[in-house]
Amino acid sequence: MLKEILKNVFTKKKAIPFPEGFDVTPDQAAKIIDFQRKIDTIFHRSLRIRQVDAGSCNACEWECTALMNPIYDLQRFGIDFVASPRHADLLLVTGPVSRQMELALRRTYSAMPEPKLVVACGDCAIDGGIYQGSYAVTDGVGNVIPVDGCIPGCPPTPTAILLGLSRIIHSCTK
């Protein structure tokens, strides 16, 4: 096992360098550089995310989990996922907010301390997605709690999630 550790330490890291390695257009790249700067100003370069699955099909969750792997590596930006909303700054909601999860989502929102942001991740969270109009869902996070930004996609790729976060923070600090 020591061989594994030594290999990990001394070989080239697999993480996609940010922002050069990301597959984006030039003005998106400018926004990503802004992202680093904005996280600096509001959250002192430290962002803690609480992720809530409000009845989603779990595809968006897998993409969020992919953000933590060595390739996208969210932690190198100072961003982390936490267990308790009292410790969190940003609420990342996936899923169309089914009726059973509506109260839980409200409770989670009210448990977070200010300043806080809410991001709806995925088409379902924005307007219900493929479940829109069903009797069992509330058609999007915006109908339950105030939303600061949306990340479209079904599911959004990890790159898109990161881009989306940067745009939202940029617009919040304008």
């Binding site: 809530v52 909303p85 009292r86 409770r107 200010e114």
Partner: protein, 682 residues
């Protein structure tokens, strides 16, 4: 009247006598009786404390002979430094508990007559004070019996419930078994003093002067140890403690746990160090082993309880074990002529006695206030009381911090001194001792860590969270002013004993000088009054005031720095992970808190755990109700008491065959007896 310690103590007894005379006059107005009765006992206890403090400070010995008692066998009383110390312990806690009782006993008004409570309370106090003053075997046993009988009636105060009667009976039986052992021990010592003819050497003075041969000295020691352990609650003679202390009224439990157990410690110290005096090292190892067993098992049994007062009773068993550990160490050091270390260990034992009286008294008083307010003893029905009883909860917290040996309170000082005694012990010549002493230190550390867990459980389940039971909690009220004053004074004493240890050690000088021939106060305060340095300040030093002030300063500075910034505090519902149907029953209870420890140490108890799904006819996957049953029993019941009880019933059934009820047979018995006596009287 000349002001001497003897006159002060005499006036203390006079006050109690006045109370006993007044009681029939005032007893019609029960409320007035409470106030008058307990004020008198407060004054009397205060006088006793004053006498004790003065005696120890001066180091005087006063002896009085009272011509009561049998002809040719007057009562001897002696007030020396050891008596004075235990008189202080008894008197100090009794003063605070008497003040507390003025408020607490109001809860019994109207439901039953409290005249017996007042009378037996005063007799109980008198009994305890006379026990530490007695200077001959006869008077000692009379005072001992007075103490036991008075406390029996006090335990039996709420006698309409059958388990209270059983608990009191068990207490009486064990107390008398112990008294017989003490009587035999005194008999051996007195007999050796005169050569088994005549009664003159029943006084302690005569026993002190006698040189006892090794075999008989050991017999006397073992009998005395057995007898005093029965009263102190040392394992395996502890079974009466967790039965009797919970059923007694809480002020009585405070006194029984706090000071009655200490009279047994007094008896042990008196017999071993004063009356016998010279002993081999294995006696000390014997006492040390019993102390270790009591400490570890006591705290483990306490952890399994969900009745608050039973938990505190088992915790008393643990603390008595700790005191015995220090006494055992002192005996070991004395037998190897290490008088300085023996003085250190003796100071540890006596300091812990005083500390335990204070913090256990405080804890029982707090439990009494909770019982008074909620009429519940089961912790699994309590919770959230901190909002309704702010004073009681803060004072109970001080008691919990003290008993868990956390600085800056008093429990830590005595534990610290005990650890120093362990660490300073040099390589002694016996290999068994070289094994036993590090093991002893390890088990003592285990005990104090488990005690901290125990009191997090006790305080957390009782006062924090939400109400766990089914009853509403609107009628819970705070303790009244007398109860608060009693508890506040005790808590202040706990704090004072923790922050100013050097003054107490200086005061206790004459005691160790008398018992082991050396003192540590010159080195203990040698670096300054703020530093406790038992041997030298390079070796070990602890400054309680500086630690307390240091923590206080950092906390205050941090608070001020952070509170001048912005940052509002918002109140929100508790974070229940979004689960809507959270109930109060989903909190951790007393039983669940100690579950991991029950799993780890469960082999020491006999545990029966049973889960049943109801209704039995339904499929296992769809139960409607779950029934959980847990019973944790003391193994000593099954090993020792059950066989003894069964054997005694068997014997009495056999002998009962002689009782036919037919007068002809009884006349034959008398006839045969007369013939036998006539033959053998020749």
């Amino acid at each position: 009247m000349v002001l001497t310690p003897v006159s002060i103590i005499a006036s203390s007894f006079a006050v109690i006598l006045a109370l006993l005379v007044l009681t029939p006059i005032v007893s019609r107005n029960q409320r007035l009786l409470i106030i008058v009765g307990f004020s008198f006992t407060t004054i009397s206890s205060f006088l006793a404390t004053a006498a004790g403090v003065w005696t120890v400070a001066n180091g005087t010995i006063s002896q009085v002979v009272i011509p009561l008692g049998l002809p040719d066998l007057p009562f001897h009383l002696r007030l020396d430094v050891l008596s004075g110390f235990f008189l202080t312990v008894v008197g100090l806690l009794s003063t605070f508990v008497s003040l507390y009782s003025i408020g607490y006993v109001n809860g019994f008004l109207g439901r039953r007559s409290i005249t017996s409570l007042v009378v037996f309370y005063s007799l109980f106090l008198v009994g305890m004070q006379l026990v530490v003053l007695a200077d001959d075997a006869l008077f000692f046993l009379i005072a001992w019996e007075l103490m036991a009988a008075a406390s029996y009636f006090l335990v039996l105060f709420e006698d309409e419930r059958v388990e209270n009667r059983r608990a009191a009976f068990l207490y009486l039986v064990v107390a008398h078994v112990g008294a017989i052992a003490i009587l035999l021990s005194f008999g051996i010592m007195a007999g050796l003093a005169t050569g088994f003819s005549g009664f003159q050497s029943y006084t302690f003075d005569a026993m002190r002067e006698t040189e006892l041969p090794a075999g008989l000295a050991t017999a006397a020691f073992l009998l005395a140890f057995f007898g005093f352990s029965a009263k102190a609650g040392v394992i395996p003679l502890h079974v009466w403690l967790p039965e009797a202390h919970p059923v007694a009224p809480s002020n009585i439990s405070a006194l029984m746990s706090g000071v009655m157990l200490k009279t047994a410690i007094y008896g042990m110290v008196r017999v071993i160090f004063d009356l016998i005096g010279v002993f081999p090292w294995w006696w000390g190892a014997f006492v040390l082993v019993f102390g270790l067993v009591s400490a570890v098992l006591g705290v483990l049994y306490a952890l399994m309880q969900s009745d608050l007062k039973r938990l505190l009773a088992y915790s008393s068993v643990e603390n008595i074990g700790i005191i015995l550990i220090s006494i055992g160490l002192c005996m070991i050091f004395t037998s190897f002529d290490q008088s300085l270390l023996a003085a250190l260990a003796m100071i540890a034992a006596l300091y812990h006695s005083l500390n335990h009286a204070m913090f256990k008294g405080l804890l029982f008083m707090g439990a009494g206030a909770v019982l008074h307010a909620t009429h519940e003893r089961n912790m699994d029905e309590m919770g959230g009381l901190i909002r309704f009883m702010p004073w009681t909860s803060s004072l109970f917290l001080i008691g919990c911090l003290s008993i868990s040996a956390l600085p800056p309170f008093n429990g830590f000082v005595s534990e610290w001194i005990t650890y120093q005694a362990f660490l300073l012990s040099p390589a002694l010549s016996s290999p068994l001792l070289n094994l036993l002493i590090p093991l002893g230190a390890a088990l003592l550390a285990l005990t104090s860590a488990l005690a901290a867990a125990l009191f997090v459980k006790a305080f957390g389940v009782t006062f924090l969270g939400h109400r766990r039971g089914h009853h509403a909690h609107d009628h819970v009220h705070e303790a009244d002013w007398f109860m608060r004053i009693g508890m506040v004074l005790t808590a202040v004493t706990c704090f004072g004993l923790g922050v100013f240890p050097t003054f107490l050690i200086n005061w206790m000088d004459p005691i160790t000088e008398y018992l082991v021939g050396d003192t540590i106060s010159s080195s203990a305060a040698g670096f300054g009054w703020m530093w406790l340095t038992p041997i030298s300040h390079e070796r070990a030093s602890y400054s309680a005031p500086v630690v307390f002030l240091g923590i206080f300063a950092v906390v205050a500075i941090t608070y001020l720095l952070l509170h001048t910034r912005s940052g509002a505090i918002r109140r929100a519902p508790l974070w229940d992970c979004g689960f809507e149907k959270v109930t109060n029953r989903m909190q951790y209870t007393a039983t669940s808190f100690s579950m991991p420890l029950r799993r780890i140490f469960g082999f020491l108890f006999s545990i029966k755990e049973h889960v049943r799904l109801l209704p039995e006819t339904a499929h296992r996957a769809f139960p409607e109700q779950l029934q959980y049953h847990l019973r944790v029993r003391d193994r000593f019941w099954i090993w020792i008491y059950q066989p003894i009880a069964d054997a005694s019933f068997w014997v009495s059934r056999r002998i009962g065959r002689m009782q036919h009820g037919r007068i002809q047979i009884y006349l034959i018995y008398s006839f045969v007896t007369i013939i036998v006596l006539l033959i053998f009287s020749k």
